[in-house]
């Protein structure tokens, strides 16, 4: 029993690193989540009924200490993926491996996994219990895992100080007395309280004003270094994702379109959808405004996704083959893309003409 363990070492990974830095912290294999739409009585009788293919066979890895950014439009499955990773909903199929151990296996029971993975939600108000003081909200997680009350409270106050909220002024306050930015700092402190190794940030800065967003992004970067965290950063804001991520995953209609190092993906997008997404960003240059929209129409509904490549209905380079063949996620040079153009011998007319960016 140590006596002098300083409460400053909040980030010390108590779960312990197992596989070393080369082993991914999180590996996701063929993750699937289908939601049943509410069936009518007759549909229940004759069977069938529609399903929403929210996440439809997603594979990715998060390396230790990196930030993986996830971008995509509404209905692409990025938030469902986050909730699956948190085990807030049960996957229809697939496997999540955390530092070499399958989640839910005897080696890594769900409860222990949940301590090591935490989440920050978009809505700073509804993610704090209005009846609990700030310090009680932060201390709740550690208490669940058996940390004595006094210790959990003092840990909460240290974390408050760490996220830039003076404990003396804020610890005893209630959520409605704080501004949006302050509440989001509290949510970050709450996520860190159980000393997680992976933090999932689901649109965590999207509801904040720009000036406050910058403060919170800086804070997130500092905390990551200080506590040796790994981030899964979900956002629809491409600028923010580019700024904060080491690697980026682009999702479209429940599938991964492309993954790769952030700079490479933003400078040399391989998938036509990524390219369209990037050129939809407002230009910020009054002399070179956007003259033509990259895509027409809205993203299709994930209830009845198009066959073949999901993007072929909006893709400027789509050919007949795209409506028939589902592209697989092909890896080259540390990048992966699911597009027939980049799949040699796929039958797409441009498939062989492609030269990969180094």
């Amino acid at each position: 029993m140590s006596i002098g363990i300083s409460i400053d070492h909040i980030g010390a990974a108590t779960g312990g690193d197992r596989g070393g830095p080369a082993q991914p912290l999180l590996t996701v294999n063929r993750l699937v989540k289908h939601f049943d739409l509410k069936k009518s009585f007759i549909e229940t009788l004759i069977g069938g009924g529609k399903v929403v293919r929210a996440v439809d066979g997603v594979d990715f890895r998060i390396m230790k200490g990196e930030t993986l950014g996830v971008v995509g439009e509404s209905g692409c499955g990025k938030s469902t993926t986050a909730r699956l990773l948190m085990h807030l909903i049960a996957p229809s199929a697939g496997e999540i491996v955390f530092d070499g151990e399958t989640v839910g296996s005897p080696a890594l029971p769900l409860r222990e996994y949940r301590r090591q993975v935490q989440m920050v939600f978009q809505d700073s108000y509804s993610s704090l219990n209005p009846r609990l003081t700030i310090q009680d909200s932060i201390a709740f997680g550690p208490q669940v895992h058996g940390v004595p009350k006094i210790e959990s409270i003092s840990r909460a106050r240290d974390l408050l100080a760490r996220v830039g909220l003076e404990p003396r002024r804020f610890a005893g306050r209630y959520p409605h007395e704080l501004s949006g930015g302050q509440r989001q700092r509290v949510n970050i402190a709450r996520a860190l309280a159980s000393k997680p190794r992976l933090v999932i940030l689901d649109e965590a800065v999207s509801a904040l004003d720009k000036s406050v967003e910058a403060q919170v992004l800086n804070l997130l970067m500092d905390l990551k270094d200080e506590f040796g965290l790994t981030y899964l950063f979900i956002s629809h804001d491409l600028h923010v994702v580019r700024y904060i991520s080491d690697r980026v995953m682009v999702m479209y209609l429940g599938k991964v379109a492309e993954t790769g190092p952030a700079e490479a993906v933003f400078e040399q997008p391989l998938h036509p959808y990524t390219r369209a997404l990037l050129s939809s960003m407002p230009s910020m240059d009054p002399d070179h405004r956007t003259e033509e929209a990259a895509l027409v129409g809205d993203p299709p509904n994930p209830i009845d996704p198009p066959p073949g490549c999901r993007f072929h209905t909006r893709c400027p380079q789509a050919e007949a083959i795209c409506a028939r063949t589902v592209p697989s996620l092909e890896a080259t040079d540390g990048r992966e893309t699911a597009c027939l153009i980049h799949e040699p011998g796929s039958g797409h007319s441009r498939a062989d003409a492609v030269i990969y960016a180094a």
């Binding site: 029993m1 140590s2 006596i3 002098g4 363990i5 300083s6 409460i7 010390a12 108590t14 779960g15 948190m86 085990h87 807030l88 769900l110 409860r111 222990e112 949940r114 301590r115 993975v117 935490q118 989440m119 939600f121 809505d123 509804s126 993610s127 704090l128 219990n129 209005p130 009846r131 609990l132 003081t133 310090q135 909200s137 709740f140 997680g141 669940v144 895992h145 004595p148 006094i150 210790e151 003092s154 840990r155 106050r157 240290d158 404990p167 003396r168 002024r169 610890a171 005893g172 306050r173 209630y174 409605h176 007395e177 709450r190 159980s194």
Partner: protein, 300 residues
């Protein structure tokens, strides 16, 4: 998690450091009620009624059971009987005061019991969701399908007259109503991100309900329950009126209203007095419940 499973004492500075505390939720509600003249008025009336109920035997000016064939149905202000006498010559003021006891008791007790049971059922159904929710709520719906007056009378009739049975039947009438409110509030709260966050932290369902759900649902359920007290009093009076609740000669407002109805043409003012008491009490409960509702709105 080995050597660090520490009973380490936190740095003493962190422990003794005083923090600024905001007033808690309930003290905020009370502070708001104190600024609300309607709530204060309703509270004053109810407080007075409770005092009268508690000290009824000490306060009554004359014996509420003392009958007199000579002094039957005297008007308000009759010598020695400030509120007149009833059909058996008993002092109305004394009987109304003593009646406060039974009437308040019949109004509050069934709601209180139903609040405990109904909240339990509703929160269970709301938090569990799925099949458990369907089973519980459809059963509740069957009870709910009957008009409450009819249900109370039917149950009382089946169980037989008497205070105990009247209480039981009223409780059964209110449980489904409270359970439905509890279920819908709980379903709302369950979907909030802070409950998700608690689940994600690995907390067990019981802990989540205790820490995160109860505090947020009991308030609204309580407001609804206070509004039922008035209904309960009126139903209880109704049962007594039909001879299914309190039995004579015990004074209870509903029963008094019943026995005095024959005197409605000879002494209408005296005959109306128990009704006036029921009216004042139930409207006070309703006003208090309204004020409570607006005081509990955090965002205002």
């Amino acid at each position: 998690m080995n050597t660090n499973v520490s009973l380490t004492l936190p740095a003493p500075t962190a422990k003794v450091e005083a923090i600024e505390r905001s007033p808690g939720f309930w003290s905020g509600v009370i502070a708001k009620l104190m600024r609300d003249p309607v709530a204060l008025g309703a509270c004053a009336v109810l407080f007075a009624l409770i005092l009268i109920a508690v000290f009824a035997h000490q306060l009554v000016p004359s014996d509420p059971y003392q009958t007199s064939m000579i002094k039957r149905l005297k008007p308000i202000g009759f010598d020695g009987f400030p509120l007149g006498t009833d059909e058996l010559g008993r002092d109305m003021l004394s009987r109304l005061m003593l009646g406060t006891r039974l009437s308040l008791f019949m109004g509050i007790t069934p709601v209180l019991i139903a609040f405990v049971i109904g909240s339990g059922i509703g929160i269970l159904a709301g938090y569990a969701g799925g099949l458990i929710n369907t089973l519980i709520m459809r059963t509740i719906d069957i009870l709910y399908a009957f008009p409450s007056v009819l249900l109370a009378i039917a149950l009382s009739g089946a169980l037989g007259a008497g205070i105990g049975n009247a209480l039981l039947s009223l409780t059964i009438v209110f449980i489904p109503q409270i359970a439905r409110v509890a279920e819908s509030v709980t379903t709302q709260v369950r979907g909030r991100d802070y409950v998700e966050a608690a689940r994600a932290s690995g907390a067990r369902p019981f802990t989540i309900v205790r820490v995160h759900v109860l505090g947020n649902v009991l308030g609204p359920i309580f407001v609804f329950a206070t509004s039922l007290i008035a209904v309960s009093m009126i139903l209880a009076s109704g049962l007594s009126f039909l001879g299914l609740g309190v039995r004579p000669p015990e004074p209870e407002w509903g029963l008094m209203l019943n026995t005095l109805r024959t005197a409605i043409y000879t002494q209408p003012w005296v005959a109306a007095l128990p009704g006036v008491m029921i009216f004042i009490t139930s409207i006070s409960f309703n006003l208090l419940s309204d004020s409570l509702r607006s005081a509990m709105d955090v965002k205002s």
